[in-house]
Amino acid sequence: MAHKLLIPIQGDDVAPRFDLAGEVLIIETDDQGAILRERTMVMPQGSAEDLCTLILTEDVDTVICNGIEDEYYQYLVWKKVAVHDCVMEHYREAVDSFLAKQNETK
């Protein structure tokens, strides 16, 4: 099944804070887990609410992030978005390990 992934980033790392991320990486994968499309978006300002709106309007399935406040975590989960937080890595490593885990479960 096609999958859409969003990662707030800071430099080459997963952004330490969801609410303060100035940039996000959106990755779309196909049924086999291969990356179809990858794009980055610059946020006008760090805002957890703006980011939640973007996640919902973009129909994101999974968010990979580091520090996220419980209020936004619970909101996204309620909106059926899978949230993997406390990810303290280079964003490429985070994507690779997520896709690898997804392929394992297939």
Partner: protein
């Protein structure tokens, strides 16, 4: 080498492991490599972040602390050879996804050649401090000032804001309303709190002496000036100078104060060289400065400069429920100080104290309770323990000099209490008169009385006026 293996050598008789030593400290400590990766952290930081030290070893510090400062204002980026430590306020998100206000002190270690050997990050949990500030802003009190009335809540909500600015403040209010306490609270809660707080009574010294005391003098400036004297302005450098009774400052010195407020430079007596000082001025007066300006007793330009922020403290008679709060507060503090077992006031004593007008405001009340506590030999303060003058002549409330009536054309007729009437009777009459004027509209009557609606409602209930 990770922090868990580090030892302190040469400081004590035996080598000591560093990690248990750091675990005893009540603030969070994180040791970082030159690449800003975590080499170790103490138990307090484990508790604060919610991450075990083993799980974050080698991680970049911004991943572990997840601090608001990490994104734009990383304190470590600001450290230089000359500036080896820095303190900034921010917030972190812990493992439980809770945002915690924190204060970060970062320090850099350099070797003799000036190369960076590592960093030390100290993280303090600011929740207790901010909790206290929130309680203060809710009006439960501020610093050592007690009060819960709507009038005082307004003051308490303003105080933290005023404290964070660096502007001059003019505090007005009748005698005994707590102008000194407010000035001190502003200083203690400001960024100048580590600097000196110097209080000067402008009416306490003759004009000739006051100039030398305020601005200092040079050796030989006048007969008897055998050495240089710094003056209060210089002594208050990096702190706050509180000029109480500013209305009593002689006109000649008002000009000099004006010059200081403009240029932040003082000119000591007999000196030709100005001295730049960084001092925040807080002034207080019980006089109506506008009226003094009209009478040419106070310079208008000085009033404008002092009047950047104006804070009016209400008299006790306008503070409603604070009367009982303050009575209990003073009784508690004096019984603790005298180690007496006084449980409270008898209903009769409370009635007398509630009916008294307190022209000397909180200071007078404090003195009355101190006297009563001292003479009381039982477990309850009775009317016999109160000063004679309260029982014999209940004074009417004097008019507030600073208070402006919002409805001058509809001002309430003065109510003159007679000697044989209690304050409660006078107050009841005031309420009836206000209700009559307002055509029965309670909100209007409350405005005319200068009270909140709830205060009027409570007092109406008290006097069976519903």
């Amino acid at each position: 080498m990770p922090l868990s293996d580090a030892v302190i050598t040469g400081l004590f008789a035996k080598d000591l492991e560093l990690a248990p030593f750091l675990d005893h400290l009540p603030v969070g400590i994180c040791v970082l490599s030159p690449e800003r990766r975590v080499r170790g952290m103490n138990a307090a930081l484990e508790g604060l972040t919610g991450f075990g030290r083993e799980s974050v070893l080698g991680k970049h510090c911004h991943h572990v602390l997840r601090c608001s400062l990490c994104t734009t204002r990383c304190p470590l980026d600001r450290l230089t050879r000359d500036r080896e430590s820095i303190t900034l306020d921010g917030d972190i998100i812990d493992h439980n996804r809770q945002k915690i206000p924190t204060r970060h002190t970062s320090a850099m270690f350099q070797d003799n050649a000036g190369n960076i050997s590592g960093y030390l990050e100290i993280v303090e949990d600011m929740r207790p401090v901010q909790g206290a500030a929130a309680a203060q802003s809710r009006g439960l009190g501020f610093d050592s000032i007690v009060g819960q009335s709507p009038e005082m809540r307004k003051v308490f909500q303003l105080l933290p804001v005023i404290a964070q600015t660096d502007s001059s403040v003019l505090i007005t209010g009748e005698t005994g309303t707590g102008k000194d306490l407010v000035a001190e609270a502003i200083h203690k809660n400001s960024t100048r709190s580590k600097g000196p707080f110097i209080k000067v009574n402008c009416g306490a010294l003759p004009a000739t002496l006051m100039e030398s005391e305020l601005f200092g003098h040079s050796k030989g400036a006048f007969t008897g000036a055998v050495e240089n004297k710094p003056g209060w302005f210089k002594l208050a450098h990096n702190g706050t100078l509180f000029l109480t009774e500013i209305g009593d400052l002689p006109l000649a010195l008002q000009v000099k104060l004006l010059t200081f407020l403009d240029d932040k430079v003082i000119l000591p007596l007999g000196s030709t060289k100005g001295v730049k000082v960084d001092v925040r001025v807080i002034a207080a007066t019980l006089h109506d400065l506008e009226d003094m300006v009209r009478q040419s007793r106070f310079r208008q330009d000085l009033m404008f400069r002092l009047n950047v922020i104006r804070l009016h403290l209400p008299p006790l008679r306008d503070r409603g429920e604070d009367l009982q709060t303050l009575l209990s507060h003073f009784l508690r503090s004096f019984t603790a100080a005298t180690r007496k077992n006084i449980r409270g006031f008898s209903p009769e004593a409370r009635a007398v104290l509630s009916g008294y007008a307190y022209p000397g405001n909180v200071r007078e009340m404090r003195n009355i309770v101190e006297y009563a506590t001292a003479v009381c030999t039982g477990t309850e303060i009775t009317p016999d323990n109160l000063p004679e003058y309260i029982l014999s002549a209940p004074s009417p409330a004097p008019p507030s000099p600073e208070r402006s009536d919002p409805y001058p054309e509809e001002s309430l007729p003065p109510v003159h209490p007679l000697q044989n009437r209690t304050w409660a009777e006078v107050e009841r009459e005031k309420i009836l008169s206000a209700l009559d004027r307002a055509g029965g509209r309670r909100s209007r009557a409350a405005e005319l009385l200068g009270w909140g609606r709830s205060t009027l409602w409570r007092k109406m209930k008290k006097y069976n006026l519903e």
